[in-house]
């Protein structure tokens, strides 16, 4: 089962006083276990371009189309047996402590 993991910043992170995991360790462990298919850090939203085609016209917008304060700062694609495994992987990511993470399963069409 594949899950797209959106790693998001949190404009008002609550303080988390538990030990924040190390990203290098997280990547190494999950790569070794075959749970992380790929992933990367993204450039800031100011570098984003939104593309829409309306009436045959391609329209471009500078920046992300949606206005949210949380920003997707990276992504990973996970291969996990089920949601519980994906939750455990996400909870071990440092940005789960300083930001938030959305797990979205592939629709498997």
């Amino acid at each position: 089962m594949k899950y797209m993991m959106f790693v998001c910043s949190d404009p008002e992170p609550e303080t988390d006083d538990s030990r924040v995991p190390d990203i290098e360790v997280w990547v190494a462990e999950n790569d070794a276990a075959g749970r992380r298919v790929t992933g990367n850090v993204l450039a800031p939203p100011s570098a984003a371009t939104t593309v829409r085609v309306r009436g045959g016209q391609t329209m471009l917008t500078d920046g992300p189309f949606t206005e949210t304060k949380e920003v997707i700062v990276g992504f990973d694609i996970l291969e996990c047996a089920d949601l519980d495994e994906a939750i455990a992987v996400a909870a071990a990511h440092p940005m789960a402590h300083a930001g938030r993470i959305e797990l979205r399963p592939y629709a498997d069409l």
Binding site: A81, D84, A88
Partner: protein
């Protein structure tokens, strides 16, 4: 037929849980459980009730499922058949898995409660919709959506292990607590279901003291259901209830559970506080002691207020007044202050406080009760 209705109540969760494990298909599992009950309605009056009604229903439902899968996908038959004729499995595990899956924190809380009622307890969608004051199509959508999320996100069908069990069990208990409270004053059937499910969970997880404590708490609360309201439907305070109308068997069972259950969490304390009221008179000293403990683990405003009441009744109204939490615009605090002031022998002050509490309370039985207390002084 009564035997079928009883089998429905007792075995629905077991049938559905087993079939979900075997087929992995929630809808098919419920359809086949429904079919098996229909077959029972037809055959039991004619052939007699089988010795093991639950086992009989599971077998019929399982055969139904096998037929349907066979028809739907002939090429999968051998695979599925191999799975379906596996040796008998301890369906205790299946029912636990079902409860934990329905209460998975990745589902919205309302969906967890609805799904538990539908899938574990076998209530009809119409009944659940009525209890939650929504239309039946709305409730159908909510349940369908929850089932779709379980399938799409692949929420596992199992009891979590290790740390995850400790993290997830309170969520399961919270769903049962919510269920009970929905039924506490209104739909008694929901309170009965909450007790039945908690009793089942306590049987399935005998080592979990919070599960046993929650069961004891429900039993004590529910024992007062016939004495809690007067003819007008107004709430009767605990000290004015007709204690002969309390369900003594339920109380005895609760006390027996508490005797053998260690105190390991908040439900254990809540249960002991509730049990402090079961005698001919409330045992305010021990209640005050348990509130001290509870305030340590759950330092909420409501707990602090109740703690002040308990100390006021145990050690004199002035002690309670000293301990009252300072909360603005919280009519309950004013009402408690009024009550303790009256008990402290200052009727004029108490009268003024009862009127103020009434003014802060929306019109209804609570306000009427406050005004009549003011008039009595």
């Amino acid at each position: 037929m009564d035997a079928v209705a009883q089998a429905h109540r007792e075995h629905w969760g077991r049938i559905v849980a087993t079939l979900i494990r075997v087929t992995g298909d929630w809808t098919l599992a419920e359809d086949c459980a429904q079919d098996a009950l229909a077959v029972a309605l037809e055959r039991w009056p004619r052939d007699g009730v089988p010795g093991n009604p639950g086992g009989w229903l599971v077998t019929v439902a399982r055969n139904r499922a096998l037929d349907q899968i066979r028809r739907a996908a002939v090429e999968q038959r051998k695979l599925r058949e191999a799975v379906m004729i596996e040796p008998p499995h301890d369906d205790t595990d299946d029912r636990l898995s079902l409860i934990f899956t329905c209460c998975h924190p990745a589902l919205a809380l309302e969906a967890r409660v609805a799904l538990t009622l539908r899938t574990v307890a076998g209530l009809s969608t119409a009944d659940i919709a009525r209890a939650f004051l929504v239309t039946e199509p709305t409730m159908t959508r909510r349940i369908t959506r929850a089932k779709a999320k379980i399938a799409q996100a692949r929420i596992p069908y199992r009891v979590p292990e290790g740390d995850a069990l400790g993290e997830r069990l309170p969520g399961v208990l919270a769903v049962l607590y919510l269920l009970f409270n929905r039924g506490y004053d209104g739909e008694t059937v929901l309170a009965d279901e909450a007790i039945r499910l908690t009793r089942m969970l306590a049987g399935l997880m005998p080592g979990e003291s919070e599960v046993a404590s929650l069961l004891a708490l429900f039993l004590v609360q529910h024992s007062r259901r016939h004495a809690r309201r007067d003819e007008r439907g107004d709430l009767v305070p605990l000290d004015r209830q007709d204690r002969t109308r309390w369900d003594r068997a339920a109380i005895a069972e609760a006390l027996e559970i508490l005797l053998r259950t260690p105190i390991e969490g908040p439900y254990a304390l809540h249960a002991r506080i509730a049990a402090g009221h079961v005698g001919a008179e409330s045992d305010w000293r021990s209640i005050a002691l348990w509130y001290d403990e509870l305030a340590r683990v759950q330092p909420t405003a409501v707990v602090e207020l109740n703690r002040a009441v308990a100390h006021g009744y145990a050690y004199g109204p002035e002690v309670g007044l000293e301990m009252l939490p300072k909360l603005d615009n919280y009519p309950l605090v004013t009402a408690v202050e009024a009550d303790l002031t009256a008990r402290a022998g200052r009727p004029e002050d108490a009268k003024r406080l009862f009127r103020r509490a009434a003014a802060e309370t929306p019109d209804g039985p609570e306000r009427r009760a406050l005004l009549s207390r003011a008039d009595e002084l």
